[in-house]
């Protein structure tokens, strides 16, 4: 029952069941952060570390994160690997196909700003944030599974700080 103690709420007991009063923001954020479904979008080497993080030893399922193949069913897109100009157009289309609220994690050096392919490279996009908005950057080449999980936990904290008004239709940078 530790959760109840930590909840910033006021509990009332009414015969027939307990009622918890809290804010809508808190409930929505908590449920969104605890069940982020990510899209399989491994491009290069970081994809193997992403798969290893979802596999037996470092399990993603305990955070409520399951992989889904289709962007329509996913909340989170890990951009794992180098993005080339040819692929960048498709990344943008896939990002727009995801339903809001949607989040992007740039995993690895190549997705953050080009990585080892920054110099002398004519076909690599130097960072995925040139085409889509990014929420969390995870450096590394490739980042260890522990780094990846730390990035996901930071994303969960970021989600928990959101307000309902952020996702209204006036939001400009979605």
């Amino acid at each position: 029952m530790g959760v109840i103690e930590k909840v910033p709420a006021y509990i009332e007991k009414i015969p027939g069941g307990g009622i918890v009063t809290t804010s809508m923001d808190w409930v929505l954020n908590q449920s969104r952060a605890s069940s982020i479904w990510y899209m399989l979008f491994g491009l290069a080497c970081c994809a193997i570390e992403m798969m290893a993080t979802g596999a037996s030893r470092y399990d993603f399922d305990r955070f409520g994160m399951i992989f889904r193949a289709s962007p329509r069913q996913a909340d989170l897109m890990f951009v794992a690997g180098t993005v080339t100009h040819k692929m960048a157009k498709r990344v943008k289309i896939l990002h727009e196909q995801m339903a809001e609220p949607r989040y992007v994690i740039a995993m690895g050096g190549c997705a953050c700003n080009g990585g080892p392919f920054y110099y002398d490279c004519y076909s690599v996009l130097k960072g995925i944030d040139k085409v889509i908005p990014v929420d969390v950057y995870i450096p590394g080449c490739p980042p260890r599974p522990e780094s990846l999980m730390e990035g996901c936990l930071r994303l969960q904290e970021k989600i928990k700080r959101e307000k309902l008004s952020d996702w209204s239709s006036d939001r400009k940078n979605a």
Binding site: L40, F41, G42, L43, A44, C45, A47, I48, E49, M51, A52, A55, S56, R57, A69, P71, G81, T82, T84, K86, M87, R90, L94, P116, F117, Y119, D120, C121, Y122, S123, V124, C141, P142, R144
Partner: protein, 374 residues
């Protein structure tokens, strides 16, 4: 309504389907455009280039030692053999002699990496065919191998361990015990995997006699490695043009009989067993020495000339053609990878099958896209 009832001749139309760059079964960013007639594939055109990172252009602006980390990223599932291919090419060009202990360490590491790469193949192919359990099992075994690598060189995926002239550091004392324990345990685990998959009627139904690869098509299109060994052809660079200390070690080359998807699966399972033997033999034969790298100048300048060399990577033959002008940076580097040839085989052998079979055939070729695009 009358037209449907009276018209007994139903015509199929051909239509195009796009298995786009993002697809759970394409193992990376490959786009296949399929011309379908009903359920059957009539033609297939692969579109590649979605991961073209211009590594050959980068090579012309880096020194020979600075280029070594890029070779990791060409085939990241088997990073040690990729390093070794570049090291072997430059050692052949410059006439560098590698110390014996380094050669044995290279064999241990490349054979362990061969096992890790085939485990990824096994897990991902089973996942494509619908079996989720082998994926979790194989990635659990692979974590033990990655622990061994992390003990030695500190990295889990892209090692940069094999350097020109030798290796970068010696193995720690607890490596030998852990390796022997791993090999003893892994042989039993391989029996477990075979118990799940090899005689399973669903697996047999999806893979037996599917995607048969005739040997002349394979040779003509440039296929190599387990893809061509599945078609009953015992060709392995480690036996045909031996390099390193492979002539002193004892191993056989497994082959398939027919060249279907099941044969290529069995070839890889047996190769994992052979790699266990090789790693153990190399560990037993490790000489007592402290020299793990040849003495080289800080900036390596090989003599002017060209070289053509190749090794056996887990997916096939990987080789380099390097032109040097005597400068500290190479003039031209051409990387030839195994998946480039293996992918060209896909179009001839999948005509006439359904999309579900295409997933099985493509999984059995074990193609990694950065190898194709470089």
């Amino acid at each position: 309504m009358d037209r449907v009832l009276n018209n007994t001749e139903l015509r199929d139309e051909e239509f195009l389907i796009n298995m786009g760059p993002q697809h759970p079964s394409t193992h990376g960013v490959l786009r296949l455009v399929l011309k379908m007639e009903g359920e059957f594939i009539r033609d297939l055109v692969p579109h590649v280039g979605y991961l073209h990172r211009s590594i050959e252009k980068i090579a012309e602006n880096r020194t020979y030692n600075q280029f070594m980390p890029y070779t990791d990223r060409i085939d990241y599932c088997a990073s040690m053999p990729s390093n070794q291919a570049w090291a072997v090419a430059i050692e052949k060009l410059a006439g560098i002699e590698v110390p014996e202990k380094a050669e044995y360490l290279r064999v241990i590491m490349t054979e362990l990496n061969r096992i890790a790469s085939h485990l990824i193949y096994l897990g991902v192919m089973s996942l494509d065919l619908g079996a989720v359990t082998p994926f979790l099992y194989t990635f659990r075994e692979r974590e033990w191998i990655l622990d061994l690598f992390e003990m030695t060189c500190g990295q889990r995926l892209t090692y940069h361990y094999i350097r020109i002239g030798g290796v970068s550091r010696d193995i720690p004392p607890e490596f030998g015990k852990s390796l022997k324990a791993f090999v003893a345990d892994f042989r039993k685990k391989l029996d477990d995997y075979e118990a799940i998959l090899t005689e399973n009627p669903i697996f047999l139904g999806r893979t037996k006699n599917v995607g048969v690869l005739p040997l002349d098509v394979a040779k003509d299109c440039g296929a190599s490695g387990p893809t061509i060994r599945g078609s009953n052809f015992a060709w392995d660079i480690r036996k045909a043009e031996p390099y390193s200390v492979y002539p002193k070690l004892n191993f056989t080359i497994p082959t398939g009989k027919v060249g279907d998807v099941w044969d290529r699966y069995i070839v890889r399972i047996q190769e994992m067993r052979q790699s266990c033997n090789l790693a153990e033999q190399a560990l037993d034969g490790l000489p007592e020495s402290d020299v793990i790298r040849a003495k080289l100048p800080a900036v390596l300048k090989p003599p002017a000339g060209e070289v053509f060399s190749r090794i056996e990577a887990p997916r096939g033959e990987m080789g380099y053609y390097v032109v040097s002008t005597g400068d500290k940076k190479p003039y031209r580097v051409k990387i030839r990878t195994a998946s480039y040839g293996n992918l060209q085989v896909l179009a001839p052998i999948s005509i006439g099958w359904k999309i579900g079979d295409l997933v099985a055939i493509f999984g059995s070729l074990d193609v990694i896209l950065p190898e194709v695009d470089r």
